[in-house]
Amino acid sequence: MIAGLTAGADIAGDLSLECGVVVVGSGAGGATVAAELAGNGVDVVMIEEGGYHPTDSFTPDTGRALRTLYRDGGGGMAVGRPSVLYTEGRCVGGSTVVNGGMSWRTPAPVLERWARQERLAQFGEAELEPFFAEVEAALSVGPQDPETVGRDSQLFRAGARARGWDVVANRRNQLHCAGTNSCSTGCPTGAKRSMLLTSVPRALAAGARLFAGCRVDRILRHGGAASGVTGHVVRPGGRRGPRLTVRARVVVVAGGAIQTPALLMRSGLRSASGQLGRNLSLHPNAVVTAFFDTDVTGWQGVHQAFQVREFTGQGLLLTATNLTPPMLAGMLPAWGAELGALMADYNRIITAGPLVCDTGTGRVRNIPGLGPQVFYQLTDSDAGRAVRGVELTAEALFAAGARRVLLPFGGAPQVHSTGELRRLLAHPVPKRSIQLYSVHLMGTARMSEDPRRGVTGSFGAFHGVPGLFVTDASSLPGPPGVNPMETVIALALRDARHLLGQRGRWGL
């Protein structure tokens, strides 16, 4: 029994609650705020659309994970040329349950740029350092134990080093990770210190109440100020169950960069800046598939042990990430017997690729009957960098001993050497042919002290609606160029502390 946690399945009739702060979402931003507020005596209610799935329910079954831990079976698509496939977590703990756990501070130049462009208060590296340090201690952020590093990561590092590139060991929120390579299907050992195992239980232990399997439909307002939320229990198949109403003095929205603006917009809220739902960044990434002569068995060892940092100045990170058979099969540009032949070499495959710090932006819109829809335009510059990142990744893989590689460009032939690679890429790659993916969605309610430029202020307050706050990746003013989880958690902690400093104002 977990005190304070109620599953939607156990709610039989309409429910009406009152609290000090209602938090929408239990991921990196929401759980952090909830734990901090509840730990300081605030009466907190958390609402999470996804279900509660404890560690002992996690298996390497990809299909099951997609159905239970991800929104829409992991099949999100940002429509554009090319379209970008994306995934969002939807479960107690949010995307921290299914991400790779990469934990990096926001680079100082990025903080400086955000602070300058958006005139953000108390946003310097020195002012944020204590928050990052506190988060890293709480989530056990650090490098992997060496015995958990798999052969795919070792080979990719060897290839990058052979090219003379800067390679760093990844920092992850883990406590002696076993290296099961199950990050994306839920860590079966509990070594990954996701919100499911850290801030959510901390919030509950401090008296917060969490309602899982409940979807928030609208934010309520009274006299122009946020006054709570209304929603419903989600029944199997997405059917609507009993109604849920939470009256609160403060509403914190932390549903991620797609759901947060969608909720705000369907609640009739507008930003004077006109920026709500805009400025979507998504760190597009591409996958290069390399075949080796001997077994690599990339699923034996930790997910992404290293990052190539040589090209961060060009907005590129390179890394090797093993994909489970269903995920790889779904990405490969082949089907039928050809797919079978490629997949027969599964244990001799390394998948790696670039992450692009994008300059292009997208938009979230609510389409009647369809819900939130995402549109994204890859810029020519970002397309060029994606192609360059693919080329660099393939070079590292050839240097590591790959015999052939498949490039993520529709219709591209298999490539057998760096010479062949350069000859192929001497010709322009059509932008629409690049196959891109994203797991980092950001920026759709960006913070700015200037209400004409941004949706929220320096501490997450929604401009023009007292009592409404946004604390998730949607408030980032741009792409950080590194994995954004630690940035989101540190800023959420900072927002929570700031809110605690205003308890009197909000009657908390």
């Binding site: 029994m1 977990i2 599953a7 399945a9 156990d10 279900g51 509660y52 799935h53 404890p54 390497p60 079954d61 990809t62 299909g63 099951r64 997609l66 159905r67 239970t68 829409d72 079976g73 099949g75 134990d145 958990t148 406590l175 002696h176 990770c177 076993a178 099961t180 390579n181 079966p188 050992t189 070594a191 195992l197 899982a212 399997g213 198949g237 997405g238 077994d295 699923w299 034996q300 489970t324 058979p325 269903p326 995920m327 790889l328 099969a329 779904g330 490969l332 089907w335 039928g336 017997a337 797919l339 079978g340 997949m343 027969a344 599964y346 244990n347 009957g369 369809l370 819900g371 629409r432």
Partner: protein, 155 residues
């Protein structure tokens, strides 16, 4: 008392006409071994579970795409007016290839269907074992190693 939420276990059966197209598509886009034993049925079960996890609009869109894929074959000259589900192997393969070689939303939708169905095929445990992927014993071993080495600090 909280109970872990159970994943959907009842497949969302596509409408009968869409199911016929889904079956044929699985036979065409999965490796030939899909016809061994009851694998096609297992792929369709997986597909049904996946559909059950989608929002209604996406579920209907994919179902509609299957129907269009099926009926669109009537306009494919080598198909001589037959539905996709009734095409021979070579014609069905050529039809899918022709669709994928096009540009635009229709091709993208077919590509998504192909991708989902091949994912479902490689989701089958016996298929995973055939390509050398059997993570359960490995996970058990490294979990044991972790506990032996770090028991004091492990959660």
């Amino acid at each position: 008392m909280i109970r872990p939420e159970r994943p959907p276990t009842r497949p969302e059966a596509p409408a009968r006409y869409a199911a016929r197209a889904a079956r044929r598509l699985a036979e065409v886009v999965c490796p030939p071994q899909v016809r061994d034993g009851a694998r096609t049925e297992a792929v369709l079960d997986e597909l049904g579970l996946m559909l059950a996890a989608l929002p209604a609009a996406a579920r209907h869109a994919l179902t509609m795409a299957l129907v269009l894929l099926d009926q669109g074959a009537r306009l494919y000259p080598p198909g001589r007016g037959r539905r996709f589900a009734r095409l021979g192997d070579a014609e069905a393969e050529a039809y899918v290839r022709a669709l994928l070689n096009r540009r635009g939303a229709a091709a993208e939708l077919v590509l998504r269907l192909v991708s989902v169905i091949t994912m479902c095929y490689y989701q089958l445990p016996e298929v995973q074992r055939e390509i050398g992927y059997d993570p359960a014993p490995y996970i058990a071993a490294v979990t044991r190693r972790r506990l032996e080495r770090y028991a004091a600090g492990a959660p």
